[in-house]
C-alpha cells in the first residue's frame, strides 16, 4: 500500500516536473520577448520623438489644427510626444501578445490569431479617422475664410456643414473598415447624405430664398450689369 502510494506521488511529481520543464523554455521565451520588446519600444519612442522634432511635427500640427484639438481635449503632451508615446504602447501591446503566444497555451492561440488578422483593419480605421478629421478641420477653415471674403452671411454655417460632412464621411469609412454593420452603415450614410442634400435644396429654394436672391444679385452685379457702386481702387 505504502509502495503504491509512493509510486503514485513520485509519478505525479515527475509528470509535474516534466510539464514544468516543458513549459520553462516557453516562459523564458516570453520573458525574453517582453524584455526585448520593451527595449525596442523605448528606443523607438526616443528615435521617433527626435525625428518628429526634426521635421517640426508640432509646428505642422498647429497649422493643421491638431494641436488645438488635443489641447481642447485636455491633453498636455505635445503632438510629437503623444505620437511617440502612442507607438510605444502599440509596440508594448504587440510584445505582450507575442509573449503570451510564446507560452503556447491552446486557449489563447486562436484569439491571438484573430487579433492579428484584425489588426490591419484597426490601424486603417484609426488612420482614416485621424486624416479625415484633419482634412475636415482644414477644409472647414478654408471654407469659412473663403466665404467671409466672398461676403456670405452664412459663412460659419457653411464651414460647419463642410466640416461635419467630412467627419461623418471619415467615420463611416472607418466603421466600414472595421466591418461593423457594413450594410447598416452604408445605408445610414446614404440616407443622411441624401437627407442633407434634400434639406439644402429645400432650404435654398424655400427657406433661403433671400440668400439665393442675394447671391444671384451679387453675381449679376459682379458681372457689371447691376447698379451697385463698384470699388475701382487699384490695390497695388
Amino acid at each position: 500500500m505504502g509502495e503504491v502510494w509512493k509510486v503514485t506521488i513520485t509519478d505525479s511529481l515527475n509528470r509535474f516536473l516534466g510539464k514544468v520543464l516543458e513549459f520553462l523554455p516557453n516562459l523564458l521565451a516570453m520573458i525574453t520577448i517582453l524584455v526585448v520588446g520593451f527595449l525596442i519600444a523605448w528606443i523607438f519612442k526616443k528615435l521617433l520623438f527626435r525625428f518628429l522634432k526634426a521635421i517640426q511635427f508640432d509646428r505642422v500640427s498647429r497649422q493643421w489644427g491638431l494641436a488645438e484639438v488635443l489641447s481642447k481635449g485636455g491633453m498636455t503632451y505635445s503632438p510629437a510626444n503623444l505620437l511617440s508615446r502612442f507607438f510605444y504602447w502599440v509596440i508594448v501591446f504587440v510584445t505582450l501578445i507575442l509573449g503570451i503566444n510564446a507560452l503556447e497555451v491552446a486557449a489563447t492561440q486562436n484569439l491571438i490569431a484573430q487579433f492579428f488578422n484584425y489588426l490591419p483593419h484597426l490601424f486603417a480605421a484609426v488612420i482614416i479617422l485621424v486624416i479625415g478629421y484633419l482634412i475636415a478641420v482644414f477644409l472647414g477653415q478654408a471654407t469659412l475664410i473663403a466665404a467671409v471674403n466672398a461676403q456670405m452671411e452664412s459663412a460659419k454655417l457653411l464651414s460647419r456643414l463642410v466640416r461635419w460632412f467630412l467627419i461623418a464621411f471619415s467615420l463611416t469609412m472607418a466603421l466600414y473598415q472595421l466591418g461593423i454593420a457594413e450594410k447598416v452603415i452604408t445605408a445610414a450614410f446614404s440616407v443622411i447624405f441624401g437627407g442633407i442634400v434634400l434639406a439644402l435644396a429645400i432650404a435654398f429654394g424655400w427657406g433661403g430664398r433671400e440668400l439665393a436672391k442675394d447671391f444671384l444679385e451679387r453675381l449679376y452685379k459682379k458681372n457689371g450689369k447691376g447698379d451697385e457702386k463698384e470699388n475701382h481702387i487699384s490695390h497695388i
Binding site: 517640426q56 461676403q151 470699388n231 497695388i236
Partner: protein, 414 residues
C-alpha cells in the same frame, strides 16, 4: 527657355539695353506701350544696341501679333532722327507657373545671355507710358552706375492701397530705404542684378506671380545694390475689375514680404532708421481720374470677419487687439475708424504668426483680408476731403508708426 528664343538671342549676341514687356491678353494696350518704348529708345539711346522682349503668357487676343506689327512711321513726330541701331524685337512665350514673375524670369535670362548693361521692364496694360519713361528707368543705370531704379508715380490718393498700407511702410521700416513704390511694376535694373536674380531658386513660389515686384526691390536693397527712384508721372492702367483678383494679389504680395522677412531677419533687426534714396525725374502735378470706392462693402466685409474669423485671429493677435477689433466692428458706418497704431500691430502680429507657422500660411493671409479692407475703408473715410499732399503726409505718419513700433516686432519675433 524656348529653343527659337535662345537661337534668336544667340544670333543677336550682345545688347546694351534690354526692355522686357510681360503680357497676357493685352492687345488693347500693348501697341501703345511698344510705341512708347521704341520712341524712347530712339530718342534717348539712339546709339545703343537695344532689344525688346515680349514675354507672353499665351495670349489669345492677338497680343503677340500686335507687338510684331506696331511701328513708328515718322520719327520726326518725336523730334528725333532715325536710330543708328534698329531695335531688335522678340516675342516669346514663357515657361513655368503662369504669372508675371515667370515672365520676368525669361527677361532676366535674355539679359544674361545678351550681357546687357541696362534693362527695364514695363507693364503691358499701361495707358500713361511715354517715351520719357525709358530715359528715367534706364539712364540711372546706363550712365550713373545704379543697379536698381524703382518707379515713383503720381497716383490717385486712394490708389495702391496694399502699397500704401502694408508694403511701403513695412519695407521702409525693415530695410531702411524709402522706396515709395516698391511694387510699382515698372523697374530699371542692371544686367549684373538680373544675373543675380537668376541665382535664386524662387520660381515655384509666389515670386513667380504677383510677388516678383517686392522680391526684386527687397533683394536689390538687402543685397547692397545701388538703388534709386525715378519720377514717371501718372500711372494709368487699362480698366479691369480690381475686386476680382484682390485675394490672390493680396496673399501673394504679403506672403512674399513676410517670407523675405524670414530670409533677411538678421539684416532688418539691425536697421534702426530709414533713409531717402536718390531720386531722378522732374516732379509735376497730374490731373487724375476720380475713382469710386464702395465703403459700405469694405466695412461690411470687415464686420463679417470680426464675427466669423475671431477664432483664427485669436491665435494671431493679442487679446487687447482682438477686443479693440470687436469694438470697431460695433461702430456705425458713419463713426467707423480703424486706428493707425492698431493696424501697425495687426501687420506685425500677422508677420510673427507667419514666421511661427502657428496657422496654415494661406489661411493666415486670407484671413487678414477683412482687416485690410477695414483699414482701407477707414483711411478712405478719413481722407475723403484731403488733398493728395495731405494724404501723402498721412502715409508718412503711418510709416513713422511702423518705425516706432519696430522694437515690438523684434521683441516678439522668435
Amino acid at each position: 527657355m524656348e529653343k527659337s528664343f535662345q537661337i534668336q538671342l544667340e544670333e543677336i549676341k550682345v545688347a546694351d539695353i534690354l526692355i522686357g514687356i510681360p503680357s497676357y491678353n493685352n492687345a488693347r494696350t500693348i501697341g501703345h506701350v511698344v510705341r512708347a518704348v521704341i520712341a524712347g529708345l530712339a530718342k534717348y539711346f539712339p546709339k545703343a544696341r537695344a532689344v525688346m522682349v515680349n514675354s507672353d503668357g499665351g495670349s489669345t487676343d492677338g497680343t503677340q501679333d500686335e507687338v510684331r506689327r506696331v511701328q513708328i512711321e515718322d520719327f520726326k513726330t518725336i523730334l528725333t532722327s532715325h536710330p543708328v541701331n534698329p531695335i531688335q524685337r522678340i516675342v516669346t512665350p514663357y515657361h513655368g507657373i503662369p504669372g508675371k514673375g515667370s515672365a520676368f524670369r525669361t527677361i532676366f535670362e535674355a539679359a544674361k545671355i545678351l550681357k546687357t548693361k541696362a534693362c527695364a521692364v514695363v507693364d503691358s496694360d499701361l495707358r500713361s507710358i511715354t517715351p520719357e519713361w525709358m530715359e528715367l528707368l534706364l539712364r540711372p543705370i546706363y550712365e550713373e552706375g545704379f543697379d536698381y531704379v524703382a518707379p515713383l508715380y503720381a497716383r490717385h490718393k486712394f490708389d495702391g492701397t496694399i502699397t500704401n498700407s502694408i508694403v511701403y511702410p513695412l519695407t521702409r521700416t525693415l530695410y531702411g530705404k524709402r522706396i515709395r513704390q516698391p511694387i510699382g511694376g515698372d523697374f530699371g535694373f542692371s544686367g549684373k542684378l538680373a544675373e543675380f536674380y537668376l541665382t535664386r531658386d524662387v520660381w515655384e513660389t509666389d515670386v513667380a506671380r504677383f510677388g516678383i515686384d517686392i522680391w526684386m526691390t527687397t533683394l536689390a536693397v538687402a543685397e547692397g545694390f545701388r538703388a534709386c527712384q525715378s519720377y514717371l508721372g501718372a500711372k494709368i492702367h487699362d480698366a479691369k475689375d480690381p475686386g476680382s483678383d484682390l485675394g490672390p494679389m493680396f496673399t501673394q504680395v504679403v506672403s512674399s514680404v513676410y517670407h523675405l522677412m524670414e530670409e533677411y531677419q538678421r539684416l532688418w533687426k539691425e536697421v534702426k532708421e530709414s533713409q531717402p534714396v536718390p531720386g531722378f525725374g522732374f516732379h509735376y502735378e497730374v490731373g487724375l481720374e476720380p475713382i469710386s470706392v464702395n465703403l459700405e462693402r469694405m466695412i461690411g466685409n470687415f464686420r463679417l470677419g470680426v464675427r466669423d474669423l475671431k477664432e483664427i485671429w485669436e491665435k494671431v493677435l493679442l487679446p487687447e487687439t482682438g477686443n479693440q477689433l470687436e469694438s470697431i466692428g460695433r461702430l456705425s458706418d458713419e463713426g467707423f475708424s480703424f486706428p493707425r497704431d492698431l493696424w501697425v500691430r495687426v501687420v506685425y502680429d500677422f508677420a510673427i504668426a507667419y514666421h511661427e507657422g502657428s496657422i496654415h500660411r494661406e489661411h493666415l493671409l486670407k484671413s487678414m483680408i477683412p482687416l485690410y479692407l477695414g483699414r482701407v475703408a477707414s483711411f478712405v473715410k478719413e481722407n475723403q476731403k484731403s488733398s493728395a499732399e495731405e494724404v501723402e503726409k498721412e502715409i508718412e505718419s503711418l510709416c513713422q508708426a511702423f518705425e516706432e513700433k519696430k522694437p515690438y516686432l523684434i521683441e516678439h519675433w522668435a
